[in-house]
Amino acid sequence: MYVAVKGGETAIRNAHRLVADKRRGDRSVPSISLDQIVNQLALAVDRVMAEGSLYDPELAALAIKQARGDMIEAIFLLRAFRTTAPRFGFSEPLDTSNMLVERRISATFKDLPGGQLLGPTFDYTHRLLDPELAGDAEIPAPELAEAGDGVMPRVTDLLGQEGLIEADADAGEEAETGDLTREPLSFPADRALRLQALARGDEGFLLSLGYSTQRGYARSHPFAGEIRLGEVEVMVEIPELGFTVSIGRIEVTECQMINQFKGSAKVPPQFTRGYGLVFGHAERKAMSMALVDRALRWRELGEEKTAPAQDEEFVLSHSDNVQATGFVEHLKLPHYVDFQAELELVRRMRAKHEAAVRDSAGQDESKAKQQEAAE
């Protein structure tokens, strides 16, 4: 027998009204504006755009506000929004060598053309809480200096000229670029699909997996060949016009990880690479993505698969925090009928168990009596 149960409408309505009240908090404190979130919680906005897989700072700020700062809830909101919007097409692939660079560092080459540009970084801060920030202290304007010619070749292109590092394989422009938002992932997935999944994957999950590769689970001796942050032009081909136009700029973070490779019968020893590219200022995520991208290339590079970070089915099936939270959090929903069935089952099993115990106890008793009689 199956009995459908309804109810809870009033409770749900009131709960939502309550959460709206909690979201607003103390009414004597001014409401936070989207501008404030975009400007002053910029890295939170960037994370929501990257993992929400939609570049739109204002919507990401709204999502953060609506989610009360719960990042995964905010990412969920943005993902839900993007399912309602029509897709007009594709951009030309971003040209990250032609970037308005805001930060660019290399841990492998001290004197690289264009220099080491620290940009707006937390690196080298002492991680001491700054009590002045609790107020609204005046912040001095940034220092300015004469900029060079702006030419900033990617580090991998420098090493590439000597053949010491593997070149980027081009798929041939005719090859179809897989899209996991249109076709469900199937395995093995090609590198383009893996990069798409990683680019929208959970930062924490990728960080831990990347860390695991450093600690020896699929170790690949990484160096941060280059990390760059800045604005790139988004070019779109307009069929009506027959040419490509810039529709504006977005900020991205790119990480080129340089890793060891012994070489093979076919390939002389050369460095291999892992790649990370993420919306916004997201250095930790870009680095983690590059580490995991490299680990997932074990098959192509003739390595042994020994660790979780190399298992694409494991990595790609669990990197999406909206899917993950959906399945984990669904456990909160009523499972009354399921549980009732399990309860019945446990009761039956216990009854059986008790009967068995009783029987064997009875046997023991009679055995003991027989023994007594024999003695």
Partner: protein
């Protein structure tokens, strides 16, 4: 295009895409002898899938989507203006399409470039120069300390 122009149409559209709504609205409000405008499409908001390249220069992959708004406008004088810009600002897309249409008119192009596009382009270039100068101030200058151990 028989008269000398300062920009190509692509350059003009790129500047329009990055300008603010306020600038475009002020320019349109101040435009005398406005032609009739008819929206052929939009303004409509959707997304485009932004692509990157594996390793920076390899095979394309899908990075994630971005909000875009596009519009197509026919001017009373026959030109069809087009816009496609990042974001969800429908009014900005409409105005950008109108100015793209006006730019195509030999009689208006010079004025649009001088009064609107070139000043906008200069303002955007100045903002870029500031970013470059701020970034340059964070460049690391290495120096080597001679310890004299080898003497």
């Amino acid at each position: 295009m028989n008269r000398e122009t300062a920009m190509t149409r692509q350059e003009a559209m790129a500047v329009l895409a990055r300008s603010s709504l306020e600038k475009l609205r002020a320019a349109w409000d101040g435009w005398d002898s406005k032609p009739a405008t008819e929206l052929l499409r939009g303004p409509e908001t959707g997304m485009i899938m932004i692509r990157g390249r594996t390793g920076g220069s390899g095979a394309p992959f899908n990075l994630g989507e971005a909000s875009v708004t596009r519009a197509t406008v026919r001017l009373g004088t026959g030109e069809v203006g087009f816009s496609c810009i990042l974001g969800r600002d429908t009014e900005k897309a409409r105005l950008a399409a109108i100015f793209d249409g006006l730019w195509q008119r030999d009689g208006d192009r010079g004025r649009i470039e001088q009064d609107l596009l070139l000043p906008l382009a200069e303002r955007l270039a100045a903002a870029d120069r500031t970013v470059r100068a701020q970034t340059a101030a964070t460049q690391v200058n290495f120096f080597t300390m001679v310890r004299g151990d080898d003497e």
